[in-house]
């Protein structure tokens, strides 16, 4: 790395201020262009035909009538996607998920697609495609799928991570184990042991903007894709691999994004739109309906988790163990592995073991959802932690503080922690005024902790200074959570100029080197790091230009408060040169001034949060009202505190929806029954209280400013915090998420009997 990255206690003037967002005006005036807002001359409308069956052989697809319909320009089935994956099973899974290859694997699985001159013609064409199915036995429940005799989703799947390697097919795609010490010995030392099983239902990220793209691909193998995505470089690479294109020939531009939360990290219709365009030789616009978004994109896993924790009377945990079963939809995933890794990450444990099982079912291919897999594991673990504290007669916060991980703790998933925030967030909870609020009748309070790894990854950034001194910063990480404001602040900080002087653009795939997808809370962390380095790179050039202007050695030039200053007594007659002055002269001093950086932003600091919430439960209807909710989280360094608070609140809001009402409901026929926002109930404004936040800043030593990713951790504790609060309010332990009114009422009534 070219620059010193050790954290220093810097006196920031821009970083940490709450400036206006640069995209605000565009978004409130409707000028911002989202996925469905691009159009091209001669474009066609793309539509996808989807399987109504959970599991079926496709014995025949007759597209002849559709092809003859006037106005239809292209019809595709699985046969139109030759296997170019070179034996890469992961790529083949993506391809098969985009378009079925002889077998429909879930309700909503794409089986054919058309491109036509308008929507009416495209819809008519879909009705003219005749698909002959032979229905197969299906399974949608994670526990049912691992029972002997369950329908096997893929006959080629052998459980990985098991020795000796199995020889027969299984719906368990992978077993992963983490931990250290001796759990049996630890449990033998325990005075109290709590063991409990939990279930969580499948949820969707619920982004308001459906998937949409405009694809152009010519017979010469070069094309363009405008798309709503969290990672246009990843989309480019995957589409190019699936369709046999060179990456440089496919230019992908990311639109403004109306929410992603992990759900826009994978391709679904984009390769289909490109292939339709190639076949029709016209641009194709493909926009998913809400029904398609629910049935055929990537929700998170439904899960089933067993947890067992033992502790001494003095409150010290002696051993903890968990078995986690996560369904990954119809294709193998690694979601249970993440669940197993994160489950006990908050605690300092001598003896710990977690085992994850990734399970195949007839549901859509699971994708990431904000700290993927961690909320369900936290729900189970933090519920048992609460039960254990109660059994020991200890305060639930004190019990957590006593067992919290700290600097030097060997994490349950392997590494040894550096400076971390779990202890400080718990201390902040303990001292928060929220905890002193008196609870009324039918009310309960819950506290829970959460952890997420965070990610850095490949990053490439350009910074160009205009002749008027304004600065264009081009980054390759899609702005899903306000990163443009934060990155402009960082550039302004480094250059010593006004925030308003910087404009941040998300560059397309042909204007920058590869950038990893905006995931793992990496946008501000990694592009922030690259921006710092690119700005320092530009400052070097600015200093050289000043040195040349003054005709002194560059070593005698320093950069301070947005201007070059000449050092030393021999230079004290030289007036400083501002960035604007140097930029104005740049055409005659060597041309444009720019900075550049490419980096693998290693060292994303792990992130911890503790949440507290008060609820009131109507004992006659089972309805839960969230009375008060507070998030405490370590941000490392909050570049733009408004956005950090927004991330804390957003994660809590999604977690509240998940905890109380959101769930995929499948019928016995394996069909999704609630593919719409009426019956898939994300919370509306009036369902939520003001969500209070407290930012802690425990610097990440691997980032120049101490930044940690903040986007995801906030969704980890809510299921458990609300579960604990509801359980305390009704006096019955809740073990099944969502804690919908019928489930809560049923739990209350069952406990009475």
């Amino acid at each position: 790395m070219p620059y010193e990255t050790d954290y220093t206690n810097q006196g920031f003037t821009k970083v940490g201020t709450r400036v206006n967002r640069p995209d605000g005006v565009d978004k409130v005036t409707g000028r911002a262009k989202y996925g469905a807002d691009a159009n091209a001359a001669g474009q066609l409308v793309g539509r996808v035909l989807r399987s109504p069956h959970a599991h079926a052989l496709i014995t025949k697809i007759d597209t002849s009538k559709a092809e003859k319909l006037p106005g239809v320009k292209a019809v595709l089935t699985g046969k139109d996607f030759p296997d170019l994956t070179g034996g890469n099973r992961g790529l083949m899974d993506i391809l098969e998920n985009c378009m079925a290859r002889g077998r429909a694997l879930y309700d909503g699985h794409a089986v054919a697609a058309v491109a036509a001159i308008d929507a009416d013609t495209a819809n008519k064409a879909l009705k003219l495609i005749k698909v002959t199915y032979k229905q197969l036995a299906h399974v949608t429940d994670v526990d049912e799928a691992i029972k002997p005799g369950a329908p096997i989703i893929h006959d080629w799947v052998r459980t990985a991570g098991v020795t000796p390697a199995p020889t027969t097919a299984s719906n368990v795609a992978q077993r992963s184990e983490f931990g250290h010490g001796d759990v049996d010995a630890g449990l033998a030392q325990a005075d109290v042991i709590i063991e409990k099983s939990f279930k969580t239902e499948q949820t969707h990220q619920g982004y308001i903007e459906p998937h949409a793209c405009l694809a152009t691909l010519g017979p010469d193998g070069s094309g363009e894709l405008w798309v709503t995505t969290q990672g246009h470089f990843t989309f480019r690479n995957v589409c190019a691999s699936l369709l046999g294109l060179e990456v440089a020939k496919l230019k992908v531009t990311s639109s403004e994004i109306g929410g992603g939360f992990g759900g826009k990290t994978h391709v679904w219709t984009e390769p289909v739109a490109l292939q339709l365009s190639r076949k029709a030789n016209r641009p194709v616009k493909l926009v998913m309906s809400r029904d398609e978004v629910f049935r055929a994109t990537g929700p998170t896993s439904s899960t089933s988790v067993d947890v067992k924790i033992g502790a001494k009377r003095n409150g010290k945990i002696t051993a903890a163990t968990a078995e986690l079963r996560y369904q990954s939809g119809a294709f193998p995933g690694m979601w249970a592995m993440f669940g197993a890794m994160t489950s006990f990450a908050c605690y300092d444990l001598k003896n710990v073991k977690s085992v994850g099982f990734d399970v195949l079912v007839n549901r859509p291919k699971v994708a990431a959802y904000r700290a993927p897999s961690a909320p369900m594991a936290a729900f189970a673990v933090e519920s048992v932690v609460d039960m254990l504290a109660a059994e020991l007669g200890m305060d639930a916060v004190d019990f957590r503080i006593k067992n919290a991980a700290k600097k030097g703790t060997k994490a349950s998933y392997g590494p040894v922690y550096g400076p971390i925030g779990i202890g400080p967030t718990l201390d902040a909870v303990k001292n928060h005024p929220h905890m002193k609020r008196k609870l009324g009748k039918n009310q309960g309070r819950g506290v829970a902790c959460g952890f997420w790894f965070n990610f850095g990854g490949q990053t490439c950034t350009d910074l160009n200074i205009g002749v008027d001194g304004s600065v264009n910063l081009t980054v390759g990480t899609v702005d899903v959570g306000g990163s443009r404001a934060s990155l402009a602040l960082i550039a302004a900080e480094e250059l010593g100029i006004d925030y308003e002087q910087v404009r941040v653009t998300i560059g397309d795939t042909n204007s920058l080197g590869h950038n990893d997808t905006t995931e793992g809370s990496r946008g501000t962390f990694s592009s922030g790091m690259a921006t710092i380095f690119a700005a320092r790179n530009a400052v070097d050039v600015l200093k050289q230009r000043a040195a040349a202007t003054w005709d002194i050695p560059v070593e005698q030039v320093i950069w301070e408060a947005g201007e070059a200053r000449a050092k030393g007594r021999q230079n004290n007659n030289l007036p400083p040169l501002s960035l604007k002055e140097i930029a104005a002269k740049s055409p005659r001093t060597g041309g444009p001034i720019a900075g550049h950086n490419e980096v693998v932003a290693d060292g994303a600091g792990v992130s911890f949060a503790s949440h507290m919430c008060d609820v009131e439960v109507d004992p006659e209807t089972g309805a839960t009202k969230i009375l008060r909710y507070t998030v405490v989280q370590d941000a490392g360094k909050a570049i733009h505190p408004d956005y950090v608070e927004g991330q804390f609140q957003g994660g809590a809001a999604q977690g509240i929806g998940w905890a109380l009402n959101e769930e995929y409901i499948y019928g016995d026929d394996g069909r999704l029954q609630n593919a719409g926002f009426l019956d898939y109930r994300i919370p509306v404004c009036s369902d939520l209280p003001f969500i209070d936040t407290q930012i802690l800043e425990i610097p990440n030593p691997n980032h120049p400013y101490g930044v940690r990713g903040v986007g995801e951790t906030s969704i980890v504790p809510p299921l458990a915090a609300i579960g604990n609060a509801v359980s305390n309010a009704v006096g019955v332990r809740m073990t099944h998420v969502p804690m919908s009114p019928p489930r809560i009422l049923n739990a209350i009534e069952t406990a009475k009997e």
């Binding site: 819809n123 926002f677 019956d679 109930r681 919370p683 509306v684 009114p741 009422l745």
Partner: protein, 286 residues
């Protein structure tokens, strides 16, 4: 698809009568347009009735209330007089969808959509509302409970539509109330609901009507529940009897929105709470 905006009820009836394909009446459009967008229906003719002056009229008097078929729900809550006379009807209409939806949707549309979970229908039935039906052969009056036959099905002939609903004169110490249960606070659809209309004399219930929503293919009038309240001051024994009658009248389904058991149980809870609200509104005190 043809789109027509007649200015008289007669012209509207003639258009509907002469259409050989699928015709739909458009008022607020908050159900119709959604169904069209989903591809559930493909009408040949749409008759927009909002240009018919008389259908945009809301007449509110103690002697009777007439709500035109094109009157959006928001106008009901804007009438203080109506809120005082029929608070239950108004609160039901103002639970439909959201503020934005209520700016367009109408109670007549809510009735003709014939959903078992419609919010305004139980309240209209409890109020003793009548529908004014227009057809090519003239007009007829029909009790609101006779309009809906089942989910999505009404007793209207294909060339008929409803011009307005009328609420009867208010006498004595009377009030109504409507409550529904939804998992969300708004933008939701009733899992179960109850409407109750009471008239008191010296704090004793003289007459009552109890109607449940979303517990059967249509809204259910529960005479046994009303009978349990009449003659009482809504003491616990009377309320318990009413709740039992309500639960006995439930014939719900198990679906994504609720279970048979849950709907049956909560129907009683909603009815009990609605009865107490109506009683207090009518001037009763416990």
């Amino acid at each position: 698809m043809r789109f027509e905006s007649p200015t008289t009820t007669k012209a509207a009836a003639t258009l509907l009568a002469s259409e050989s394909g699928i015709a739909h009446v458009l008022a607020g459009g908050t159900d119709l347009l959604v169904r069209m967008k989903m591809g559930a229906i493909e009408p040949d003719l749409i008759v927009d009735i909002k240009r018919i002056e008389s259908l945009r009229t809301l007449k509110v008097a103690a002697a009777g209330v007439q709500i035109g078929a094109a009157v959006p729900a928001v106008r009901l809550s804007e009438s203080e007089k109506l809120r005082n006379l029929w608070p239950g009807v108004v609160e039901a209409a103002n639970l439909i969808g959201s503020d934005q939806i209520q700016g367009r949707c109408t109670v007549v549309g809510n009735l003709c959509n014939a959903s078992p979970a419609a919010d305004s229908v139980p309240a209209l039935i409890a109020a003793g509302a009548k529908a004014l039906v227009v057809g090519p052969k003239g007009k007829r009056r029909v009790a609101v409970e006779k309009v809906v036959l089942g989910p999505g099905r009404t007793s209207l002939a294909r060339d008929e539509f409803i011009e307005a609903v009328v609420l009867p004169a208010r006498t004595g110490k009377s009030a109504d109330a409507y409550l529904r249960f939804t998992p969300r606070t708004e933008m939701d659809i009733a899992v179960v609901s109850a409407a109750i209309n009471l008239t008191l004399s010296r704090g004793i219930v003289q007459s009552a009507k109890v109607v449940l929503g979303a517990v059967a293919p249509t809204a259910v009038v529960v005479p046994a529940a009303a009978k349990a309240l009449i003659g009482s001051k809504l003491d616990d024994a009377a309320l318990d009897k009413m709740v039992a009658a309500c639960r006995a009248a439930c014939n719900p389904i198990d679906d994504k929105r609720g279970t048979i058991e849950y709907r049956t149980k909560v129907a009683g809870v909603m009815a009990r709470r609605a009865a107490l609200i109506a009683y207090e509104r009518a001037g009763g005190s416990k």
